[in-house]
Amino acid sequence: MAATKKTNSELLFNGILLENPIFRLALSMCPAVGLTTSIKNGLLLGTAVLFVQVFSSCTIAAIKNFIHPRIRIPTYTLTIATWVTVIDLVLAAYVPEAYKQVGLFVKLIVAFAIITMRLEMFACKNTVTSSFFDGVGMGIGFMVGMVTIGFVRELLGAGTLLGYDVLGFKPLLFFVLPAAGFFCVGIMMAMFNYIEVVFNRSKERKS
């Protein structure tokens, strides 16, 4: 078991930028495409994922020594399912209106690859504290990704932000269409790649 040597702030930063779940690792694409027609949806699901990620990371990190290696995947799945049930019931009770729109996806968090992957790669090898910060970083990274796509699609598609009319007209109705989610994600990934290429080029020039 090789515990990580990164500091807590590095772990946080890692999840948000360097290993952003949506744009860099390309995991959990389903909600990134299906639910990002508005910022609000992105925020809500992002919160749910943050909650589940942090709590299941901590749980697994705390009980990692009691898990037999052969049944570790079912253990992860059931841990995640438990926390998903908790947040599902909480959201259904406190924000019923918004929950109606994202309802199915909250239950589907249980099958999101990102959470299982972080448990397998990180939480089962590290302490509770660093797992907590890793979970927070990944959760916020996911939320940032969702909100960014939601921002672009809501602004271009409906001309609003968070439900408030900012543009006064609808530039490209195409972007709120379901199929546009794929285009939006694809183009934004290409943009991230382009930034990386430019960054590397300028680095080479300096050296």
Partner: protein, 323 residues
């Protein structure tokens, strides 16, 4: 590997056709020989065809038609108005509210008057064939509400395994088998254990546990029974758990209260739709490998844009109604 695939595809087609043949095929019965055909037109309209022209005065008065569901003869459905076609042979009964197309309806009419003659009263059954309804669930899950292109589920596995046609077909078939088995078990468990004991809130935990168990069981059985098949499909089994569709279908079944046949068709449609999506995507991605794509778009981004085009094409199916 390809002969194995062909054999398993053939086997599954046989199973489905046997299943379909065993279903009762229902038609409609008219008790008055003057009325030829009855059918639903849309959610609010019933069509009745007569053998000859009927009188406009009789046909356009809503009081002459009484419609109720076969199960509740006491509840009369509100007939808003009755229209007669120009050739006076077809009558459209319009309702003020949506009617349940799945239930059988009974239309009772006062004595039909045709060109001044009395053709006698009529009581007609109107129902859709159950077979057609099941078929529409299958096609609906496969094309109209394709889980990948119109519901955006299962994208991780979809993008991950659609690089080659062989992999895509293998994944699709494995997924369909696991999907059908686990959906049927979870339907049974939900209807007979979770619901009677009011444990609905355990849905997620139970369903995901069931899926892992099914995957493990299929893995063990296949390894012993057919090692060659296991070699071909075994690697995809683990990936099935990471697919959102596999948990979305039991949840849909639970919230829609489908019965066993309907659940089977939905699971089969979801699996078949995933297979179709994987096959289409892998075919186009094999071409993309050879195409001259800008470096920043290479790999995932262009795959997403291509998926977007497929999704646009599949939007054309939306609103389609069969039977």
């Amino acid at each position: 590997m390809s002969t194995l695939m062909k054999r398993s595809i053939l086997l599954s087609i046989w199973l489905v056709s046997i299943f379909l043949a065993s279903l009762p095929v229902c038609g409609h019965a008219a008790e008055n020989s003057f009325a030829k055909k009855t059918d639903f037109k849309d959610n609010r309209t019933i069509v009745i065809e007569f053998a000859g022209a009927v009188d406009e005065e009789w046909a356009t008065s809503p009081a002459n038609f009484k419609v109720n569901e076969k199960q509740n003869p006491d509840v009369l459905l509100p007939v808003e108005k009755v229209e007669l076609s120009p050739d006076k042979k077809t009558v459209l009964i319009r309702f003020g509210e949506d009617i349940d197309l799945r239930a059988a309806h009974v239309v009772s009419m006062t004595p039909v008057s045709s060109e001044g003659k009395n053709m006698g009263p009529a009581i007609l059954d109107v129902k859709k064939s159950y077979f057609g309804y099941l078929f529409s669930i299958l096609i609906g899950a496969m094309l109209i509400n394709n889980y990948v292109f119109t519901k955006y589920l299962g994208l991780c596995v979809f993008i991950g395994t659609s690089r080659k046609k062989d992999t895509a077909v293998g994944m699709g078939i494995t997924f369909t088998i696991v999907m059908v088995v686990s959906a049927m078990i979870s339907w049974f468990l939900y209807q007979y254990v979770l619901k009677p004991y009011r444990l609905d809130y355990l849905q997620v935990v139970v369903f995901i546990g069931l899926v892992s168990l099914t995957v493990q069981a299929v893995d063990t059985v296949l390894r012993k029974v057919n090692p060659a098949l296991f070699k071909a499909f075994g690697v995809y089994l683990v990936l099935v758990i990471a697919n959102c569709v596999i948990i979305a279908v039991p949840l849909t079944l639970a919230s829609n209260e489908y019965n066993a046949f309907e659940s089977f068709m939905l699971a089969l449609g979801a699996g078949g739709g995933f297979l179709l999506a994987l096959f289409l995507m892998s075919a186009s991605r094999e071409r993309l490998e050879l195409a001259n794509v800008p470096p920043t778009f290479r790999g995932l981004p262009i795959a997403f844009v291509a998926t977007g085009l497929f999704a646009l094409a599949f939007m054309g199916f939306s609103g389609m109604a069969i039977f």
